[in-house]
C-alpha cells in the first residue's frame, strides 16, 4: 500500500479523462467538478482504453462498445458490461495527483444483481408465476436479468440445446480466432449468476413442442415444463451451402463456440481459405484469417457485398478496406460445387476452381422458428413480435435472432441479427413478462464489428435503399464517417463510423431530429450507388501502405527459415518492395572503384539497385553520386559508360548540371521577349538531381538513399570488415577490365550461391579437383550478426588430402585430371589472411572476389524479379609486375560468364529460376546444418548463412 505519483493536476481538464501508467498498471484519471477520481484504465468488457472514452454525468463511456461505468464507484451501468471497474484511492498533494493501487476509491456498492433483486417492484402478476425461456443464449441472459430487475419473483426455467451457459457470440468471429478469447469471457450468465438469480438450468436439452393451450413446453423424454410466460429465444443456425460437396470436412460454418474452435483449428494449419459470403461474419473471419497469415478469398454472389443489408456505397467501403488488406474479394461469383483433392478443397465457381485448405461459410442465419410456428405464432421469416416482444399467441414472447424487429424497414419487418438487438429485445420481453410497462427510452439499433484493425460502429435503422454521404475527406479508413439518409423523407437514418466513436455518440442526438438532413451545411460527399467500382485507384493507393505480411500471397511457410517460398524470387510486388526497402533503404550500395574516376571530371555510370546513377569526381576531389535522371523531364541524360566532363547537359532541353548534380542552367529560364519562361519564384537550387549519400573505404565507393547511414565500418561489422580489408589491403588498385552479363534469375540467388559452400564442393570440378574448396578443407562460412553480409572462406589444399569416401560423394572429382598449363592454378600468397579464397557478400549489391590471385568486385543490378545484370570489375594492384598481371588474367579463366566456375554458377542459377517459373508456387528446402539456426558455420555442408540472410530480409521487408 503506497501512494504513488500518477500525474499533475493541471494535466487534466475539468470534465476530462487521461490515461497514465502507475507502476505498470494502466490507470484512468478523471476530473469531475474539480475532484479527481481514478479507475483501472481498461474496460472490463473488451480491450479498450477508457482514457479514449467519453465523460458525461459522472460516467465514463467506453469508446469501443459504449458500455458505461460510474466513475466514482466503478459500477457497470449498462450492457455490454457485466463486470464493475476497479477504482483506486486518490489524494492531492499540491499539484501532484497520488494514487494508491491497493485501495478502492470509495466503498464498493453491492453487486448490482443482488441489489436489484432486493428492490422488488410490487407486482402481483409476477408472484408465484413460472417463466420458461427456450434458447440459452445472450437474449435469454438479458431477459433473465430484466425479469428479476423488474421484480419477477417466480421460477425461471432455462432450456438450451447447447451444453453451455448463455454466452455472447460476437467474440466467436473475433477474439476467439485470435487466441485472445475463451468461453468464460463470453459467458453472459455465469453459474453463480444463475444461482443468485434463481434460474433452473435445463442445458443440453431440446424443446420439442409448445402446447399453448396447456401452457407447457415438452422436452425430450416426455419431460414437461409448465409456464405462465414463455420466451422463445431460439436464435437460429448458420445457413448451409446447398451445393454438391458442401458436406465435406473442411467446409465450416460459424454459430457456436464449437464451430469457432473448429475454424480456429482450420486456420492454424491453413495457408489459404475461401470465405463464402461477404457479410459481417465473412469479413470478420477474413480479418482473423489474415492476421494469422492465412490468405483469404471472399466469394460474394451479389454485385456488391452486404448489398441486401446496407446501401451499396457502404458495402463498397467495407470491401475496399478488406481489399486494401489483401483480401481477394470476388463479386458476382456463384459457387457450384466443392471438390476435394488430397487435403485441398476446390471451390468451383463459374470462372475457375480455387484451391484452398478450408471453406468458411458465412451466408447468414436460418432463424429457428419452427417451434413457434407450430405453436401458432405468426411468422414471416422470423417470429412476429410487438415492441414488448409479444407474439401473436398469448403468454408467448419471442426475442433475439429468431424474432422480427417491430420497426418496419423498407416497408417490411426484418430480423436484426445483432448483439445489441439480442440485449434490447431480451430486456423488453423480460420487462413485459414481468408485467412491467415498456421502457420507452429504448435505444436505437446499434451494431459494431471489429475487422482489419478497425472498430466500426453503426447506429440507426439503416436501409439498403438509403442515400449515403461521407463526412470529411477520409474514405474507407480509420476516421471515416458515413451517414445514411432516407430518400423519401430526407431524414437521417443512421451513422456509420470507422474507429470514430465520437461520431456515434453525436449521432444519437442527430437521429432524433425530425427535419431533413442539411446536405449543404455538412462537408459531405454523396457517394455513388454504382456497383461497378467507380474509383478503384483509391483502394489501390491505400493498398501500398499496408504491411505485406497481411496480404494474401506472402505467407511464409510454417516451418520457418528452413523453407523459402518461391514468391520470394518470382513476385513483382516483392521485387518492388525490395527496391524500396533494401536498395533504396538503409544500405550501402557499391557504385564504383576510386581508380575508375581518379581525376576531377571523371565519371562512370552505375546503379543503385535498378536505379541508374552517375558517379562523378568534382573539382574539389569529392566523389558525388546522383540519379541519372534529368530533373526536368526524367531523361536518362548520361549515356557513356564512363568519361570525363566539365558538366552534364541533358540533351533534350539542355538543362545543365555541375559535377555534384546541382542544376546550373535552364535555357530560356526568363522566357523570350518577356514571354514564357519559368515562374519568377523558380529556384535552380530546388531542382538539382537527386543526390545520394556517399562513402568510400579503401578505394571502394558506396552510395545510399538513406541520409543517416552509419559508417561503412559499422555497416560491415568487424568480422566482415576484416576480410574486406584483407583484400583491399591498402595497395592502390589497378583496373584490368570488365565483364558484364545478364542472368535470368532472382538477384538474391547470387547471394545465396556465395553463402552456399555446399554447392561449391559439388558443382565445381575445378575447385574440387585442384583442391581449392573441398569438403574437409579448412574453411569458414561467416555471417555477420545481422545475417546480411557473409564471407565464404577456404584454405587451398593440394587435392591429395581428399579422402576416398568423400571423393565418391563428389560427382565433380576427377581423378588424375591434369592441366597442360598448371601455372594457371598457382596461388601466390600476397595477402595477410589465412584464406586462399574469400568470397564476400556485402549486402545488398556487392561481391568481393578474392579467388587466389584473381580479384574483382561484382555489382548486382536487379532488373526485375526474374533477372539481374552483373557487372564485374576486375583489378590488380599498382606495382604488379607484368607477369603478376598476366597471372591474374590467366586465373581469371575461373571467373566471369565464361569462367570455369562462373559459367556453372550462372547456369545453375538460371536452372533454379526456370524451375520456379515452370513449376510454380513451391518452396525451397534449406535445412542443412540444423544445429545452427542462422549464422556462421564452420562446416561447408551448411545452409545456415542462407537462413541468416533471410532472417534479415524478412525483417527488412516486414514479412
Amino acid at each position: 500500500m503506497a501512494w504513488q505519483h500518477a500525474a499533475s493536476l493541471n494535466s487534466i481538464r475539468d470534465g476530462g479523462v487521461i490515461g497514465v501508467d502507475v507502476d505498470g498498471t494502466p490507470v484512468a484519471l478523471y476530473r469531475l467538478h474539480g475532484e479527481i477520481f481514478a479507475t483501472h484504465g481498461i474496460c472490463t468488457h473488451a480491450l479498450a482504453l477508457l482514457s479514449e472514452g467519453w465523460v458525461e454525468d459522472g460516467k465514463i463511456e467506453c469508446p469501443l462498445h459504449q458500455g458505461q461505468f460510474d466513475i466514482r464507484t466503478g459500477k457497470a451501468l449498462c450492457a455490454p458490461l457485466t463486470q464493475d471497474l476497479r477504482t483506486y484511492a486518490v489524494k492531492l498533494e499540491g499539484d501532484d495527483i497520488l494514487v494508491d493501487l491497493d485501495r478502492h476509491g470509495e466503498q464498493p456498492v453491492a453487486p448490482p444483481d443482488k441489489a436489484d433483486r432486493g428492490a422488488k417492484i410490487d407486482n402481483a402478476a409476477a408472484t408465484a408465476a413460472t417463466a420458461v425461456i427456450i434458447g440459452a443464449g445472450q437474449t435469454a441472459a438479458a431477459a433473465i436479468r430484466t425479469l428479476r430487475k423488474a421484480g419477477f419473483n417466480g421460477a425461471i426455467d432455462l432450456v438450451g440445446d447447447e451444453l453451455h451457459l448463455p454466452y455472447e457470440r460476437p467474440p466467436l468471429s473475433k477474439d476467439m480466432l485470435l487466441g485472445r478469447g475463451n468461453l468464460d469471457a463470453c459467458t453472459r450468465l455465469s453459474r453463480v449468476d444463475a444461482e443468485s438469480l434463481g434460474v433452473r438450468l435445463h442445458l443440453g436439452q431440446q424443446a420439442i413442442a409448445i402446447d399453448p393451450a396447456r401452457k407447457q413446453v415438452v422436452l425430450a423424454q416426455d419431460k414437461v415444463l409448465p409456464y405462465d410466460a414463455l420466451l422463445i429465444a431460439t436464435g437460429g443456425r448458420a445457413r448451409r451451402l446447398n451445393i454438391p460437396g458442401s458436406d465435406r470436412p473442411g467446409v465450416l460454418h460459424l454459430r457456436t463456440v464449437e464451430d469457432a474452435a473448429a475454424i480456429d483449428r482450420a486456420l492454424a494449419s491453413a495457408t489459404h481459405v475461401a470465405i463464402v459470403g461477404g457479410g459481417f461474419i465473412g469479413l470478420e473471419l477474413a480479418s482473423a484469417a489474415l492476421s494469422r497469415n492465412v490468405a483469404v478469398t471472399v466469394l460474394e454472389r451479389e454485385p456488391e457485398i452486404m448489398m441486401r443489408l446496407l446501401p451499396v456505397p457502404l458495402g463498397r467501403t467495407f470491401r475496399r478496406i478488406a481489399e486494401a488488406h489483401g483480401v481477394d474479394v470476388r463479386r458476382r461469383t456463384d459457387i457450384r460445387e466443392i471438390t476435394q483433392r488430397g487435403s485441398k478443397l476446390g471451390v468451383v465457381t463459374g470462372q475457375d476452381t480455387i484451391q484452398v485448405d478450408a471453406v468458411l461459410v458465412g451466408i447468414g442465419l436460418e432463424p429457428a422458428i419452427d417451434l413457434a410456428a407450430a405453436a401458432g405464432c405468426a411468422t414471416a421469416g422470423g417470429i412476429e413480435v410487438d415492441a414488448e416482444g409479444r407474439t401473436s399467441v398469448p403468454g408467448i414472447w419471442a426475442a433475439g435472432d429468431c424474432a422480427l424487429h417491430h420497426v418496419l424497414r423498407d416497408g417490411r419487418r426484418v430480423r436484426l441479427e445483432s448483439w445489441h438487438n439480442a440485449e434490447e429485445q431480451g430486456a423488453a420481453a423480460g420487462r413485459s413478462m414481468a408485467g412491467v410497462a415498456r421502457d420507452t427510452t429504448a435505444k436505437k439499433p446499434w451494431f459494431w464489428t471489429d475487422q482489419f484493425g478497425l472498430n466500426i460502429q453503426m447506429i440507426g435503422s439503416i436501409s439498403a435503399s438509403d442515400t449515403v454521404i461521407r463526412e470529411g475527406s477520409i474514405d474507407a479508413a480509420a476516421g471515416a464517417i458515413y451517414r445514411t439518409i432516407d430518400r423519401e423523407t430526407g431524414l437521417l437514418t443512421g451513422t456509420i463510423a470507422f474507429s470514430a466513436p465520437d461520431a456515434i455518440r453525436q449521432a444519437r442526438h442527430e437521429l432524433d431530429s425530425s427535419t431533413p438532413f442539411a446536405f449543404d451545411a455538412a462537408s459531405a460527399v454523396v457517394l455513388a450507388d454504382d456497383t461497378n467500382d467507380p474509383d478503384t485507384s483509391a483502394s489501390e493507393i491505400t493498398a501500398m501502405n499496408i504491411p505485406l505480411a497481411l496480404t494474401k500471397r506472402y505467407v511464409w511457410p510454417q516451418e520457418g527459415l528452413t523453407r523459402i517460398p518461391d514468391w520470394v524470387y518470382t513476385d513483382q510486388t516483392i521485387y518492388e518492395r525490395e527496391v524500396e526497402k533494401i536498395f533504396h533503404g538503409r544500405t550501402w550500395n557499391y557504385v564504383a572503384l576510386e581508380c575508375e574516376i581518379p581525376n576531377p571530371g571523371d565519371y562512370i555510370r552505375s546503379n543503385v539497385g535498378p536505379t541508374p546513377v552517375v558517379v562523378a569526381r568534382a573539382d574539389d576531389g569529392s566523389i558525388n553520386v546522383f540519379e541519372n535522371r534529368c530533373a526536368h523531364r526524367a531523361a536518362e541524360f548520361c549515356r557513356e559508360l564512363s568519361g570525363n566532363a566539365k558538366e552534364f547537359v541533358c540533351p533534350y532541353h539542355q538543362w545543365s548540371y555541375d559535377l555534384k548534380g546541382n542544376l546550373a542552367g535552364v535555357p530560356f529560364r526568363r522566357g523570350v521577349n518577356g514571354k514564357g519562361g519559368m515562374p519568377a519564384d523558380f529556384k535552380t537550387a530546388d531542382h538539382g538531381l537527386r543526390k545520394l549519400s556517399v562513402t568510400t573505404h579503401r578505394g571502394v565507393v558506396f552510395a545510399s538513399y538513406c541520409e543517416t547511414m552509419e559508417s561503412f565500418e559499422e555497416y560491415l561489422g568487424p568480422e566482415v570488415l576484416g576480410e574486406f580489408d584483407a583484400t583491399f589491403d591498402g595497395r592502390k588498385l589497378k583496373l584490368l577490365g570488365y565483364y558484364r552479363h545478364s542472368l535470368p534469375g532472382n538477384w538474391k540467388l547470387y547471394h545465396e550461391n556465395l553463402k552456399d559452400p555446399y554447392h561449391a564442393t559439388l558443382l565445381h570440378t575445378f575447385l574440387v579437383t585442384f583442391g581449392l574448396l573441398v569438403a574437409g578443407n579448412r574453411s569458414l562460412m561467416l555471417a555477420d550478426p545481422t545475417g546480411r553480409h557473409g564471407v565464404m572462406a577456404s584454405a587451398k589444399s593440394d587435392g591429395k588430402a581428399v579422402a576416398s569416401d568423400a571423393k565418391k560423394e563428389m560427382r565433380a572429382y576427377r581423378e588424375g585430371m591434369t592441366l597442360e598449363e598448371p601455372r594457371f592454378m598457382d596461388f601466390i600468397d600476397e595477402f595477410n589472411s589465412p584464406w586462399s579464397v574469400t568470397m564476400s557478400t556485402v549486402w545488398p549489391n556487392l561481391i568481393v572476389q578474392r579467388e587466389m590471385n584473381t580479384l574483382g568486385v561484382r555489382q548486382i543490378v536487379p532488373t526485375g524479379p526474374h533477372e539481374f545484370i552483373m557487372k564485374w570489375t576486375m583489378f590488380g594492384f599498382e606495382g604488379d609486375s607484368e607477369e603478376m598481371t598476366r597471372h591474374r588474367l590467366r586465373q581469371g579463366n575461373l571467373m566471369g560468364p565464361a569462367g570455369f566456375l562462373g559459367l556453372e554458377d550462372n547456369e545453375a542459377i538460371k536452372f533454379v529460376q526456370d524451375g520456379m517459373q515452370r513449376v510454380p508456387n513451391g518452396e525451397h528446402l534449406v535445412k542443412l546444418d540444423p544445429e545452427i539456426e542462422a549464422g556462421t558455420a564452420d562446416s561447408l555442408i551448411s545452409e545456415a548463412a542462407i537462413r541468416a540472410m533471410y532472417k534479415h530480409w524478412r525483417q527488412e521487408m516486414g514479412l
Binding site: L736, Y738, R740, S742, T765, A898, F900, L903
Partner: protein, 178 residues
Amino acid sequence: MQTSAMTKPSLAMSNNDARLADLLLHHEIATFNNRYAAALDELRLTDWTEMFTDDALYVILSRENFDRNLPVGLIYCENKGMIRDRAFALKETAMFAPRYLRHLIANQAVLSETPDGTIVARANYVVLQVLYDRPDATLHQVGVYYDKFRRIDGELKLAERRCVYDNLLVDNALCLPI
C-alpha cells in the same frame, strides 16, 4: 584488295600475279575460317585446338575493354596448352545446358603480311545460339576477329585470335568458344 596489293610491292610480281596471290591467300583464310566455324559448330573442340600454334594467344574480350586497352577477357589463353585445357574442361567437366552454336564469319580481310610470314587479318563474326527448349536462335555474340596467322609446315595456323565482341552484356554465360 587495294590494301593488300599496296602491302606487297617488294615481291616484284606482276600486277596479275600479285592479285592472284591475294586471291589465293584470301581464299585460304576463308577456307580456314570455314573449317574453324565448322569445328566449333560441330563441337569438335580437339580439332579446334589444333588450329592454333603452340604459342597462340586466344582471347575473347569485350569491345569496352579492347577500346580502353583493358586486358581482361572472358576467355584468356596464352598458349595452346591453355586452349587445350579449356577444350578439355568444356568437354569433360563444365556444367551447362546443352545448346547448338552457329558461327557465321564474314567481311574477311587480310590487312598485312610481315616479313616473318605473319599474316594480319580480320573478320566480322556472328554467333547464334539455340537452346533446346526455346524456338528462337539468339544472337549470342557479334564482333570482330583480330587475327594473326602463321604457316606451320605450310599450313595456316592461328598465332593470335582476339575475339572482340560488341554486345557488352553477355547473355548469362558463354559456354563454348567463339
